[in-house]
């Protein structure tokens, strides 16, 4: 797997030694692969699955739609695929208006959440299904099917039925079955959801490699924020049918647009308070800390800080100057292996969750220790309620 990591890193930086002119560099040009404009989807009278959504997925991009279950991300994917039609708004794929085109007339393919492999066909027939339905001639069907099966490393399993395959193998068949058609955009609906953790991590890297190799846009639906952060060029965070924020992994994690994104992506410590002066927050217990904010003085806010941005010190004097420092008591310690997790009670102000990397230099604290919680001024963001 080390090789895989290397190749994904290379993609982000300068191109490797032999330049390949055939493959367009992703994200450099603004060609829109999938465009949604004012898309709304209602089910019945009062259920709004997707609300007035504008989205542009760029050519060659790995785009993730991230959100809790029921947020409308799968519906959005189905609208792109043509399995559902929007109540309002329009969908374009490479500039072409989709309108009421049925799924079989759209240049996209889907990897379904439960894979939806045809149980009455073997691997080969599953993979070649799309080509046969397009009436591609037999010799080419055979060649391309073989290539697709090779791409997902399933050679030798052509004659097996889906129920004789493991979850990971079924997942690869679903992928090959979609990719063999050389779609302009590949839609993936939580394709790794049914796999165990180790396999999921391996498949994340593999999917990313395959995307790099075939060079098409992937629209990837997931509720797993870690998966989205790992794989995506850009992420669109959805909540209750609305697209809340679109950006690169770093943007989403480091500058969440609102409290929902802050809480949904990554761990976050939330503390209630109010703006005391410009850039200063008064916590419930009276402590004043500096934070990033645009809210006016007097506004009630929620202060959000990443647990890994917090440092612990025994004395106020040990902490570096020019940073925020709040005194508290250790009430809980959880050993997580690569890190230690502390709960620090800061009285009326609330509770800090602190994650300290488990390195030899890190001091370990015991329950009952009095500590100083220390964090950079930029690490805390105050969101108006």
């Amino acid at each position: 797997m080390e090789h895989d990591v290397a190749s994904t890193e290379r993609e982000a930086g300068a191109p490797g030694a032999p330049p390949e002119p055939a493959k367009p560099a992703p994200m450099t040009v603004g060609v829109v692969a999938v465009g949604l404009h004012g898309v709304t989807k209602r089910f019945g009278e009062d259920v709004i699955a997707v609300r007035n959504m504008d989205l542009e997925v760029r050519d060659g991009e790995f785009f993730s739609l991230l959100g809790p279950s029921g947020c409308g991300k799968t519906t959005t994917l189905r609208i792109i695929a043509g399995l559902d039609y929007p109540t309002d708004g329009s969908v374009q794929i490479y500039g072409e208006e989709m309108g009421l085109k049925p799924p079989n007339k759209r240049p996209v393919n889907t990897v379904f959440q439960s894979y939806a492999l045809f149980p009455h066909m073997n691997v080969e027939d599953n993979v070649s299904f799309g080509l046969r339905m397009q009436n591609v001639d037999q010799a080419e069907v055979r060649r391309r099917t073989g290539e697709a099966i090779d791409l997902v490393r399933l050679s030798g399993m052509e004659k097996r039925r889906p129920n004789a395959l493991s979850g990971g193998e079924q997942q690869r068949v679903a992928l090959a079955r979609a990719l063999v058609n050389q779609p302009k955009v590949l839609l993936l609906d939580e394709p790794l959801g049914a796999l165990d953790l180790k396999l999921r991590q391996a498949m994340q890297l593999e999917l990313k490699d395959i995307q790099h190799e075939v060079g098409i846009s992937f629209v990837y639906v997931t509720h797993d924020q870690e998966e989205a952060l790992t794989m995506s060029d850009r992420i669109g965070v959805m909540n209750e049918g609305e697209l809340v924020q679109v950006g690169r992994s770093e943007d989403i994690y480091e500058s969440p647009a609102n409290l929902f994104v802050a809480g949904f992506v990554g761990d976050m410590v939330f503390l209630p308070g109010e703006i005391a002066a410009t850039g200063a927050v008064r916590l419930k217990g009276g402590e004043i800390v500096q934070a990033r904010t645009t809210a006016a003085p007097g506004t009630s806010i929620t202060l959000a800080i990443r647990p890994e941005m917090l440092d612990l010190y025994g004395e106020r004097s040990e902490a570096p100057s020019g940073r925020n420092a709040v005194a508290g008591t250790v009430t809980r310690r959880i050993f997580l292996g690569e890190s230690l997790y502390y709960k620090i009670d800061i009285g009326a102000s609330g509770v800090f969750d602190v994650r300290v990397e488990n390195v030899p230099s890190a001091k370990r604290w015991a329950v009952g220790d009095a500590v100083i919680v220390d964090f950079h001024l930029e690490a805390a963001t105050a969101f108006a309620e």
């Binding site: 393919n109 939806a116 492999l117 009455h120 129920n163």
Partner: protein
């Protein structure tokens, strides 16, 4: 998903194969004791009468037509090759086959329609409607058809008014109508069960993979409903082949089917050995075809 469940799981392998085998044997004995009453019932009321029928087919016929359990011979069996028999067998096979096909076409459309109703309560209601005719006796319902098809019956009146058909009673079409009516539920129910179980995301996957609505139906829905097609076809074909009540009440002299022919042998013709031989022959043919049908179905499922 069930696909995942069927994955061979190494953890379930028994640590001690001998213990496992003994437990299995004990389990199978217990199962046998539970089944004793059922076996006894089947032997007394199913196997024994069948044996009696077979024995009688080798008996001889007395001068008054009384079967004599003596002078064992194959006369009754050789009589099966007579042209009258093959005419009746041919007609019966034709009627049973055509009725099965008609039931399949109409039943599939209906079962598909019920299975795709979005609300569970609607589906239940429609299924109950399919079953309601069973609440009254089959014979009574067939007589009702006789009234409908007779000279002054509604169906005849409609036919005469439109000029499309006349009185159908005592003709082959009347027998078909009766059989179709009688056996359609046996086709609809297994088809409904099979279609309702289909994972619709498979059809969506087919549409996503460039299949038109029709091709998705032919390549995905239809093959996946195969268990229902097989079960329904057997449930309709076999009783249609041996149908007695419907052709007897709605058919005429020229529409004698196997069932009626056999009844005649035990009644008016007073030829019990021949009737027994006919019954035995049909039974053998049906068992063989059913086995073949299931085998072919099981392999391609």
């Amino acid at each position: 998903m069930t696909m995942l469940d069927q994955r061979p799981d190494s953890q379930q392998e028994a640590a001690n194969p001998e213990l496992e085998r003994r437990a299995e044997r004990r389990e199978s004995w217990r199962g046998f004791f539970h089944a004793v009453p059922a076996y006894a019932y089947l032997i007394a009321f199913f196997v024994l009468p069948l044996i009696i029928v077979f024995v009688f087919s080798f008996a001889s016929r007395g001068r008054t037509g009384r079967p004599i359990l003596d002078n064992w011979n194959l006369d009754a069996w050789t009589k099966l090759t007579e042209p009258l028999v093959s005419t009746i067998v041919g007609r019966s096979l034709f009627v049973a086959a055509l009725n099965t096909v008609l039931c399949l076409i109409i039943g599939y459309a209906f079962a598909y329609w019920i299975a795709t109703r979005p609300k569970q309560s609607t589906r239940t209601l429609l299924l109950i409607l399919v079953l309601i005719p069973f609440w009254s006796n089959f014979l009574v319902r067939t007589y009702a058809w006789r009234i409908l098809l007779d000279s002054d019956g509604y169906i005849t009146q409609i036919g005469e008014f439109t000029g499309l058909w006349g009185r159908m009673l005592f003709t082959l079409p009347a027998v078909f109508l009766g059989l179709l009516y009688g056996f359609l539920p046996f086709m609809v129910l297994p088809l409904y069960a099979a279609i309702e179980r289909i994972d619709w995301s498979l059809v969506e996957a087919g549409r996503d993979l460039y299949a038109s609505g029709t091709r998705a139906f032919l390549k995905i829905t239809l093959p996946l409903s195969r268990p229902g097609i097989i079960a329904g076809s057997i449930l309709v074909f076999i009783p249609s082949l041996g149908a007695y009540v419907t052709p007897d009440i709605l058919g005429g002299a020229k529409t004698t089917l196997l069932g009626n022919f056999i009844v005649t042998q035990f009644g008016a013709a007073r030829n019990w050995p021949f009737g027994s031989a006919l019954s035995g022959a049909i039974l053998i043919v049906m068992v063989l075809t059913t086995i073949l049908y299931f085998r072919s179905g099981a392999r391609t499922l």
